[in-house]
Symmetry: C2
Subunit: 161 residues, 2 copies
């Protein structure tokens, strides 16, 4: 059996995601300008867009929108975890938790653990993948976690008529 | 008692969010260029960034990243629902579901329903707000739903010594 990280993203299929497997990736640097630009468009609360006001908030300084952290996490997953040929869709996410502030300059890494990989009951050409995702900063503090569900296509049978 | 939408965003406190109350807001238009720009940075899967490839996908055309839909939803909530003076933080979100494709040109509205508003057990100056959020497109199809948790400060007592 080959570890997931040794299988190129354009050759990964449902069968390659095995329960218990862990893939780590990153880091991505949280850029100050991007924190403010993202928040101005999508989450313009003072502690995300206004450095002076953020200093007076409970966070003591500018922090990234939780949705920005989620988006940066998704990018790491697309670049390192999710198949580029077999990802069909995601029905959703459970237990999304923002556990600690994310600040400009932080370096975020992702630890993805396959907690369930089961064949679809209704469609035999795909499987349901459940992944526990933890996002860690440079001090190894878990800043965000979530449980993701993805539908992943099975490997095509080469000699199928 | 005053309905939530009649209380300005900079005068809303925990006491103003009452169980069963519903606030509707929007729409926001999903812009094609923004769909692709968001996805190029955060979710560069073919059906989000490549119109030609998207036509061959199960979705039959370009769709927005689910995280983009979540971000647009957050903007509607910040502009219409979440207090601008009493929002302390969000511990997280449960049951985030992407139920139907979101396409360029769609007009998304939000329906937010207060499902729980309880005083904090540990900190008497705040409450825990749980909100069921549905995102609807112009055909009234629910495209996304989630259960949000927010910590909201109580109204300061004016004559407190």
């Amino acid at each position: 059996m080959t570890d997931l990280h040794n299988i190129p993203l354009n050759e990964r299929y449902f069968e390659d995601y095995r329960e218990g497997e862990v893939l780590e990736c990153g880091p991505v640097i949280v850029e100050r300008e991007e924190v403010m630009a993202f928040a101005r468009r999508y989450d313009p609360q003072a502690f995300h867009v206004d450095p002076a006001a953020a200093t007076q908030s409970v966070f003591g300084g500018l922090i990234a929108s939780g949705w920005h952290t989620a988006a940066l996490t998704m990018r790491l997953l697309v670049d390192n975890y999710i198949s580029h040929v077999a990802s069909l869709s995601s029905p959703g996410v459970d237990e999304l938790r923002w556990l600690a502030p994310v600040r400009p300059g932080d370096a975020l890494s992702v630890r993805a653990r396959v907690v369930e990989a089961r064949a679809s009951r209704s469609k035999p050409d795909r499987g349901v993948l459940r992944t526990q995702i933890e996002v860690l900063n440079q001090e190894n503090t878990v800043v965000m976690s979530l449980l993701a569900t993805n539908l992943i296509a099975c490997r095509p049978e080469p000699n199928k008529p």
